[in-house]
């Protein structure tokens, strides 16, 4: 087949947990699926997490086999490091123009041996570890990446050629250019996910400039066994923190930040991280400053109660301000609602801002789908069929449709696959 023109039944955009699940549910019904992922590897946010609530499975124990199942499914084809440029209607189906970005590595021959990576003299901040820790200019994105193919960061490459000499299969190609691929499909699923709300948005919380104030996602990397240090330390000075505090709703439920909604996951991830920290730093004091604890899902309330029993301190209070003392210890100014709303200052060694979720990508231009004021894809029937969009044949799932944890994302993804399958059948039966 002409590699610049592909044909399939369904196109799934975004290879996070939602997109992977949609792709698998369609492929397992016998449909041909193309999965387009913007990054060099599929996996989304979930592959970056440490352990996941409510079961505390390690995130990669759930994600990597899914990634592998996607890679090994004969009905799924992954186009990584690719983005959809435009989508046109084509009868009841669609034609999508995809731009495959140059990896500067020949995908067909690279074996993922990493010899190039070992040879490269250039260290750059590691995006997978949110730029803490370093990685080479050419590398396999992370150890469990799918596909296991190197990618070369031309912006940082000094063109020394060491990688090319090290590569046993001659896969480094400095002259590679981007490639356009045209994909003809009958249905499309948008699963472009979320990004965390910015840590530097709030002046009162130091605009991201305080040394030992981090966000929840960085804490995930600190807690992950594959993370940069494989233990929890203060970013400011590398010291082991003895007192850690979580500030909830930092970035959500805040009109002034343009995020009035609740991000739905941050209460649970904060409790989860607190429990994990309590496990690895048993002597540390952990405090969670919250307005409402929203542990609404199956088994979540018990999770919260367990955390209380473990001695994690839950303080109902509004954190008005975070500053730092001369030792770079963060100081919170908090109104203790349970204690006559008195305002006090408390010093901690480290603060985690429980940042929320906002959409990663706004698909309204390219796909013509309606989005809400925040950019989440909006369903015309949010109750009865939440994965439908205003465009017949285009569905949306996971965190691209609103804040959602993994369990809810997976159900939403299977639901999108169901709706897409029904659409495919109705088109084929000429309905």
């Amino acid at each position: 087949m002409d590699e610049n023109k592909l044909k399939a039944d369904a196109l799934v955009v975004g290879g996070g947990i939602a997109g992977m699940q949609s792709a698998l549910d369609l492929a397992d019904q016998g449909y041909q699926v193309i999965l387009v992922e913007k990054e060099p590897s599929i996996g989304g946010k979930m592959i970056m997490l440490s352990k996941v609530f409510p079961t505390l499975d390690c995130a990669s124990c759930i994600t990597t086999p899914k990634m592998s199942a996607v890679a090994n499914n004969k009905n799924i084809r992954i186009l990584s490091y690719s983005e959809i440029q435009s989508v046109q209607k084509n009868g009841s189906g669609f034609i999508a123009n995809v731009l495959k970005k140059p990896r500067f590595v020949v995908e067909e021959t690279c074996t993922g041996c990493r010899l190039c990576e070992y040879a490269c003299p250039v260290d750059i901040p590691n995006p997978f570890d949110l730029n803490i820790g370093a990685i080479r200019a050419v590398r396999v994105p992370f150890s469990t990446a799918v596909p296991q193919i190197a990618v070369l960061d031309m912006d940082n490459c000094i063109l020394c050629g060491k990688c090319a000499r090290a590569c046993p299969v001659d896969s480094i190609d400095f002259l590679q250019t981007e490639k356009e691929v045209e994909i003809e499909v009958d249905t499309l699923i948008i699963a472009t996910g979320f990004e965390t709300t910015p840590i530097d948005a709030k002046k009162e919380y130091g605009n991201g400039k305080l040394h030992n104030v981090i966000d929840g996602l960085i804490m995930e990397r600190l807690l992950a066994p594959t993370g940069p240090y494989a233990r929890v330390i203060r970013p400011g000075d590398g010291k082991e923190p003895e007192s850690i505090a979580y500030v909830q709703c930092a970035g959500s439920r805040d009109e002034t930040l343009g995020v009035p909604y609740c991000s739905r996951i941050c209460c649970m991830y904060a409790i989860k991280q607190a429990m994990l920290i309590a496990g690895s730093l048993p002597m540390a004091d952990i405090t969670i400053y919250y307005m409402d604890i929203r542990t609404f899902g199956k088994g979540y309330e018990q999770f919260y109660q367990n955390a209380q029993a473990m001695g994690i301190e839950f303080v109902k209070g509004k954190v008005a301000k975070i500053s730092e003392d001369e030792n770079q210890n963060p100081v919170v100014r908090v109104e203790l609602i349970d204690e006559n709303s008195q305002i006090i200052e408390r010093t901690h060694d480290m603060i985690v801002l429980s940042v929320g979720m906002s959409p990663k990508y706004n698909p309204s231009q390219v796909y013509g789908v309606n989005v809400d004021e925040f950019g989440f894809v909006k369903s015309p029937t949010p109750n009865l069929s939440s994965t439908k969009t205003n465009q017949p044949g285009i569905f949306a799932t996971g965190a691209s449709t609103g804040p959602m944890d993994i369990v809810d994302s997976i159900n939403s993804a299977s639901a999108a696959a169901s709706s897409a399958a029904s659409y495919l059948e109705s088109v084929r039966n000429g309905k």
Partner: protein
């Protein structure tokens, strides 16, 4: 299989892999040490470790080793087999080996997690478990999956919004669906709502748009007043028996019967707020529109229709169907507080939220002033978490011994939605909202909270172990009821709020489905809701193949979440049935006909219907009885193996010889 493809134990070439499990195992077990020990084993060709064997990279290592080193067996020490045994069988198969030439050793649940305080011991145990795995691997035989024809026909149990959604989606995939609903009418609890969050749409209008799609779909058959009474068989081939009751009235005499009926009973659609006749429609516009007789309450007396005395007769009928997969969508019921709790069932001014919604829906247009039992309503208290978030040691368990310690997820937003609607209409009413945490978690839910605040709802926060109390006000007070409690938004101040009406935001409990649970052998969780296999890997599947869950039968959910779960269930059913064929693991009993003498001891102990039976066959000219297994019915439990006096039965993949070899290996001298 023949000996040729099955090398002798001493000739096997085994690849052994020990997984760090991202730290889950390696934090306790010295994984490198274990691998080192494995290399001493004569059959081990290669022993490796990896951060996560289940990743694509990890799996590729195994695949390559099989191909390049000519491995004949693979043993992987990792998480629980329930998690990734299946994953690794795929790996082994891609490497070119029979997928059952693989053994999975559980080093996480069975070792690192339970011995986290004893790393040395855990490492030794890992070595022993791995040796046992190797011993078993040596004896493995190649097996084939059991392939079965699957009936392209699904049964959906429950005609609420989840069941309807699942039925429609499965049919959309071209698969036949039979939908059974226990009551005479479709719609479930959603029909009892008025406007719904987050759309503000009318619940019954939305519901009926779906009902219309379902009832006009050519592949869907609906049976109301119907229940599952018996089930046999297995995935792809369930034989189910369904019992239907009749409606009692038919098109010709229905309207007349409805008009003539005089016997009245509390109307369960309105949660007992009103009465209805025993010949009834659940609500105007319900589907089916033909009324039905309420058999539970009908007193059996004749009713005079057009001058004729008619006695209604419940003509029950049962019918059988062959079904490939089953969706359970039996839904929830609102928690009903025991008499006296928060004054419920004692004080007439105390209602549950579902009752309140019905009350508001029953009003005849806007009546200027809201009244309750004839009195104007000026002040209302809403109390959250009634029947939810109970604490051990503080709250009494329910009569069944279970503590309702979960959050019911829907009641916060549902309460604030109702309160806002109420205040839109009656801005002068004061609302006091007693809560512990406001859980308006969804994208569009928080706005109900902010709107309630703008509407001047007074929020009062209790602690879970100090919930508010409701009592009758003293004679002559301005209001009939007092709500007392501590408000932790004002430093635990003791407060007493006089009100005209108390709304209890009751939680959700599952509908009683013990009959289904027993018949289908599916598990319930600690919270009584039906239990999924794994919340992330298989969130809508039960451990019984081909039986999946949809909606609030599984846990509290709002409509969107119920419909998503239902569509997800439909996706799983479609995956199972789309090809018309299902595959099962071959771990089932196998009878060695040379040893079997037909004692029938095995049949006595087998707990699964038709899994093993005696059949008459001819051996050397004589008619004899021999045990025969139907693989699809066999669970592989091994009861028969232990019962057979002639050791004629083995469970494939888990033979007695395997266990013996494993026990020998486990008890071997190990030096670390």
């Amino acid at each position: 299989m023949t000996e040729k493809t099955n090398p002798k134990p001493e000739e096997t070439k085994i690849g052994v892999y020990v997984c760090y499990c991202g730290g889950n195992i390696s934090d306790v077990v010295d994984v490198e040490k274990v691998a080192e020990k494995m290399r001493e084993h004569p059959n081990v060709t290669i022993a490796r470790t990896d951060m996560s064997m289940c990743s694509d990279a990890g799996q590729s290592i195994v695949e390559n080793d099989i191909k390049e080193l000519g491995l004949t067996r693979v043993v992987i020490g990792a998480c629980a087999p329930s998690l990734h045994e299946h994953t690794f069988r795929g790996t082994v198969a891609r490497g070119g080996l029979n997928p059952y030439y693989f053994h999975h050793v559980g080093l996480r649940e069975q070792d690192s997690w339970v011995h986290s305080n004893n790393p040395g011991g855990a490492t030794e145990k890992a070595v022993r478990l791995m040796y046992a795995g190797i011993a078993k691997a040596n004896l493995l035989k190649p097996l084939d999956m059991i392939k079965l024809k699957a009936e392209r026909h699904a049964l959906v149990i429950g005609g609420g919004v989840a069941g309807l959604r699942a039925a429609y989606d499965i049919a959309g995939r071209g698969i036949n669906v039979t939908l059974i609903e226990k009551t005479p009418f479709l719609g479930g609890r959603m029909a009892q709502l008025e406007t719904v969050f987050p759309t503000g749409n009318n619940a019954r209008e939305d519901l009926h748009s779906l009902i219309n799609e379902v009832r006009t779909h050519p592949l869907i058959t609906i049976h109301t007043l119907s229940e599952l009474v018996n089930i046999r068989g297995y995935i792809g081939n369930y034989d189910v028996q369904i019992r239907s009751q009749s409606r009692g009235v038919s098109g010709d005499n229905a309207e007349a019967a409805l008009a003539a009926c005089t016997q009245e009973v509390p109307d369960d659609f309105n949660y007992g707020l009103t009465k209805r006749k025993v010949v009834y429609r659940a609500y105007e516009g319900c589907f089916p529109s033909t009324p039905a007789v309420d058999w539970e309450h009908y007193d059996g007396k004749p009713i005079e229709i057009d001058g004729q005395k008619v006695i209604f007769e419940n003509k029950k009928k049962t019918f059988d169907l062959r079904i490939g997969a089953i969706v359970i969508a039996t839904g929830f019921q609102p928690y009903e507080p025991p008499r006296g709790d928060y004054g419920y069932d004692e004080l007439p001014e105390v209602v549950t939220l579902p009752q309140f919604i019905r009350y508001m829906g029953l009003r005849d247009g806007n009546v200027g002033e809201l009244t309750w039992k004839g009195h104007p309503v000026r002040d209302i208290a809403a109390i959250h978490c009634v029947g939810s978030r109970h604490l051990a040691g503080v709250h009494e368990p329910q009569p069944d011994g279970i503590l309702n310690n979960y959050c019911s997820r829907v009641c916060c937003t549902a309460t604030l939605h109702q309160v806002n609607e109420l205040l839109d209409e009656y801005p002068n009413i004061n609302v006091y909202d007693f809560y512990e945490d406001i859980r308006t978690y969804g994208l569009e839910h928080e706005s109900y909270y902010t709107e309630a605040s703008k509407n001047m709802v007074r929020f009062l926060r209790f602690h879970g172990d100090q919930r508010p109390e409701v009592a009758a006000a003293p004679e002559g007070d301005t209001h009939p009821v007092l709500v007392k409690g501590k408000d932790y938004l004002t430093n635990g101040l003791e407060i007493e709020v006089p009100v005209d009406l108390v709304i209890l935001a009751v939680g959700m409990v599952p509908r009683p489905v013990d009959d289904l649970v027993d018949m289908m052998k599916i598990p319930k969780g600690d919270d009584r809701f039906l239990l999924e296999v794994h919340p992330k890997l298989r969130p809508v599947e039960t451990p019984v193949p081909g039986i999946v869950l949809a909606g609030t039968a599984q846990s509290p959910m709002n409509i969107q979440e119920s419909c998503n779960a239902a569509s997800a269930a439909a996706a799983k059913v479609s995956v199972l049935l789309a090809s018309g064929q299902v595959e099962l693991d071959p771990f089932v009993a196998k009878v060695d006909l040379d040893k079997c003498t037909g004692t029938g001891d095995c049949i006595e102990v087998c707990e699964y219907e038709d899994a093993i039976v005696l059949e008459t066959m001819t051996v050397e000219g004589n008619e004899v009885q021999r045990a025969v297994v139907t693989p699809a019915n066999c669970s592989g439990c091994g009861n028969c193996v232990s019962a057979c006096p002639h050791h004629a039965i083995d469970v494939q993949g888990w033979e007695v010889a395997h266990y013996e070899a494993m026990v020998d290996a486990i008890t071997m001298e190990v030096e670390l």
